[in-house]
Point group: C2
Chain length 264, copies 2
């Protein structure tokens, strides 16, 4: 490629997260970057947007020679602000989000700021990839997966994603020597077995703090969870249409029932 | 029904919202209620959860004779806390969320705290319905739609939802006399045309405030947006699997590409 693609980079762990630094290092080998990331960690923010408060955007010198900003809002706010205030008429060729510190496989996509940021860009028509490493440590090893990240970015820039605009990519926390490459998957049907730790604060007020354990109930070998357990990088083509088409006919009788309450 | 079903009630506009009051008034005619709602408005919170802070739960006397709590967290936090701390071993027969002040049709489901709360309950296996009225006013008319809400709750309790666990129900802001009943739909493919209002605060710092206009690009007459424009109550059976199955084969070549970077 002689043309240097414009790559929009964001995350949910914040502008100073090592995962973002690793992602920037890979992406800058491929294209021109613009980075907009939250000014504080935003894990678990899902698709939250800021409506009741103004947002702040501050140019920062975090990555040498790269245009970068920190934003006071959520990951989705970063994408919206980047698109409307910073990119203006420029079109990004690709959006990459992450590398998240921790898994966003299976239903974790719903809670994930990393994936919601990527999804927001995809709603704007930008091909987007969210990356997550299955290691929650701040100083996780992001080196092993870098060549794979570069390959998938190049692949998407060269071949596109068909009708789809979004990939959820999760990387097992294993040494490069045992990584078995990419596997195209579906989102596993799993759940969290949660509980709340109860405590009493220094003022004598009761509080509840969420904790839990991820449980995969899905035995398919075509899922992201299976791929990760078998040392593959899982790649789930993802969308934003939540309609359960298979349930539409089951619900048709409700259309008739309604007539009973329509006033004469 | 002689058995009084247990109905979990929540919302995203907060414990004092008129939409919640209307929903409680309908639901109490059908079953026993437990209400857990945010202690402040949480519009646009999407599927956000609170991870870094403890949560508070306070019993409140807002609805006469009804067990109700306000929660310091997001709508999804309300459902998780309700499920794990308040319901314990009891199983809710139904979760209802809303009535939201404003539309959650089409892609608005992604940003909606109302729908994320309902989805969270559905992830726990509880049949759930999110309700939204297409009127952003705090003092919107919630009376006209009440008989319809009762009908749909009874229908779901009597007939279930098949494999599906979640309905996204939106109600047009029209008088009861012109409401044409329910229509089972798919989620319209639409988008927001957004911009940021820029300003300078009293301290001389620049800020950005989100504003925008909803634009439907989807001409189908089987969508929720079409139904609402034609004075139907839209009912979209919804899920949480974001996989784009139609894109899986398109991406297969990536699985081979990966081999190039696997270290020897």
């Amino acid at each position: 490629m002689n043309y240097r693609p414009l790559i929009f980079v964001t995350n949910d762990d914040g502008i100073n997260a090592p995962g973002l630094k690793a992602l920037v290092e890979v992406a800058r080998e491929i294209g021109e970057l613009i980075v907009v990331a939250p000014d504080s960690p935003q894990s678990g923010q899902g698709h939250a947007i800021t409506l009741k408060e103004p947002l702040r955007l501050k140019k920062v010198d975090v990555f040498e020679g790269i245009e970068a900003y920190e934003c006071s809002g959520t990951p989705v706010d970063c994408v919206k602000l980047g698109k409307h205030v910073l990119l203006h008429q420029r079109e990004a060729d690709l959006c990459v989000s992450g590398i998240n510190h921790g898994s966003n496989a299976s239903i974790n996509i719903l809670y994930s700021g990393t994936m919601s940021a990527a999804m927001e860009a995809s709603l704007e028509g930008i091909k987007s990839i969210g990356f997550s490493l299955l290691d929650y440590e701040w100083n996780a090893d992001f080196e092993s997966c870098k060549p794979f990240l570069k390959e998938i970015m190049l692949h998407v820039l060269e071949h596109g994603l068909g009708n789809c605009k979004l990939l959820n990519v999760n990387i097992p926390a294993v040494p490069a020597s045992v990584l078995r490459g990419f596997r195209i998957c579906r989102q596993a049907e799993a759940r969290w077995i949660e509980r709340y730790v109860e405590g009493t604060d220094p003022r004598g007020q009761k509080y509840y703090w969420l904790t839990g354990e991820f449980m995969n109930q899905d035995v398919g070998s075509d899922t992201d969870v299976w791929a990760l357990e078998n040392h593959y990088i899982s790649v789930v083509p993802s969308g934003h249409d939540l309609t359960r088409y298979d349930a539409i006919e089951h619900l048709r009788p409700l259309e008739h029932r309604a007539a009973q309450v329509v006033p004469e």
